[in-house]
Amino acid sequence: MDHLEYLFAGFAVFWGGLLFYLMWLQARLHGLNREIARLEERLAEAETPRPRAETGIATSRS
């Protein structure tokens, strides 16, 4: 009469669904922030002028 199996299944689906969504969101946010940091670093590197000796062109011609 109490149908406890349905009660447990209902709570499991509810909490499981929320936990899965939270973990997916957390993973996505983590991935996005890591990608932003990587690209910002790349952008900063591209904006910094390199010394000529480091390019390798000067050494190959000398």
């Binding site: 009660l7 299944a9 209902g10 689906v13 509810f14 929320l18 939270l22 946010l29 932003i36 952008l43």
Partner: protein
């Protein structure tokens, strides 16, 4: 970054206070609360969730006819209410995107739609698990269930359309805002379906003209559950908004790099 976020970033992003008056005070408090969201939401949600579980499993009395399975009400009904609230917030944010062309509201619309989709799915799933032992079937094509399924499909269509397009595409944002209007039309149909048509789903037990048809002990637990699930939904929306904003920022950086490499 963790789920608890960075309050400093939020404070930097929030606009400055408006000059003088009551509205300035309200705005200052709103900004302060917004800045504190990662400090306030996790403990408040945690406490409310603990009270909800305690109330639903231990404190609330066993229902005489349906038995223990009726305790599913404490997650099913608040989920449905969050679903309604999400559609309303989605409509407001999408209307601003559609008419004012203010793209700052687009991440909010997407976040609210994501959370609304989740709670619509949970409402359908918990409803099916409650329906099987009581009605003898997982699903019936009655007006309440079918109109809720339509809302779930509207949310799904919106999220699918947004995931296939470029995040910063204004035209896609405006066109897909129409989904929110269709979703908002569906909500009164869902709500009134049990009054307009003969359905398997019971009539509302709380929002009645004659007053709540629940004992006080059950009503209090239901209200605590509602507060807990609303807080959880706000937390999820805040977290999803952070992810949406990060997505926009990533697109902007990629564009800057592409422009630089072409130059």
């Amino acid at each position: 970054m963790s789920a608890f976020g960075t309050p400093e970033t939020a404070r930097q992003r929030s606009p400055g206070p408006a000059p003088g008056g009551l509205s300035a005070l309200a705005q200052r408090w709103a900004e302060r609360l917004y800045g504190w969201r990662w400090r306030l939401l996790p403990p408040l949600t945690g406490i409310a969730m603990f009270a909800m579980i305690l109330g639903a499993v231990i404190v609330a009395p066993r229902e005489a006819i349906e038995g223990e399975v009726q305790r599913l009400m404490y997650i099913h009904v608040p989920s449905a209410n969050v679903m309604y609230a999400a559609v309303f917030a989605w409509l407001v944010a999408s209307a601003i995107v559609l008419w004012k062309r203010d793209m700052r509201w687009d991440p909010i619309a997407r976040s609210v739609a994501g959370v609304g989709w989740l709670f619509t799915g949970l409402t359908l799933a918990t409803g099916a698990l409650w329906g099987k032992p009581i009605w003898g079937t997982w699903w019936a094509w009655d007006a309440r269930l079918t109109s809720t399924l339509i809302l779930f499909l509207i949310f799904s269509a919106y999220l699918l359309a947004r995931s296939l397009a470029d995040e910063s595409d204004e035209q896609v944002a405006r066109y897909s805002a129409v989904f929110a209007v269709i979703g908002a039309v569906d909500v009164p149909i869902i709500y009134m379906s049990v009054r307009w048509w003969r359905t398997l789903h019971p009539q509302p037990v709380v929002a009645n003209l004659e007053g709540p048809a629940l004992p006080m002990s059950m009503l209090i637990v239901l209200l605590i559950s509602l507060v807990a699930i609303v807080l959880l939904a706000i937390w999820l929306v805040a977290l999803k908004s952070e992810a949406e904003s990060a997505g926009h920022r990533l697109t902007a950086i990629r564009t800057a790099i592409d422009r630089r490499e072409r130059a």
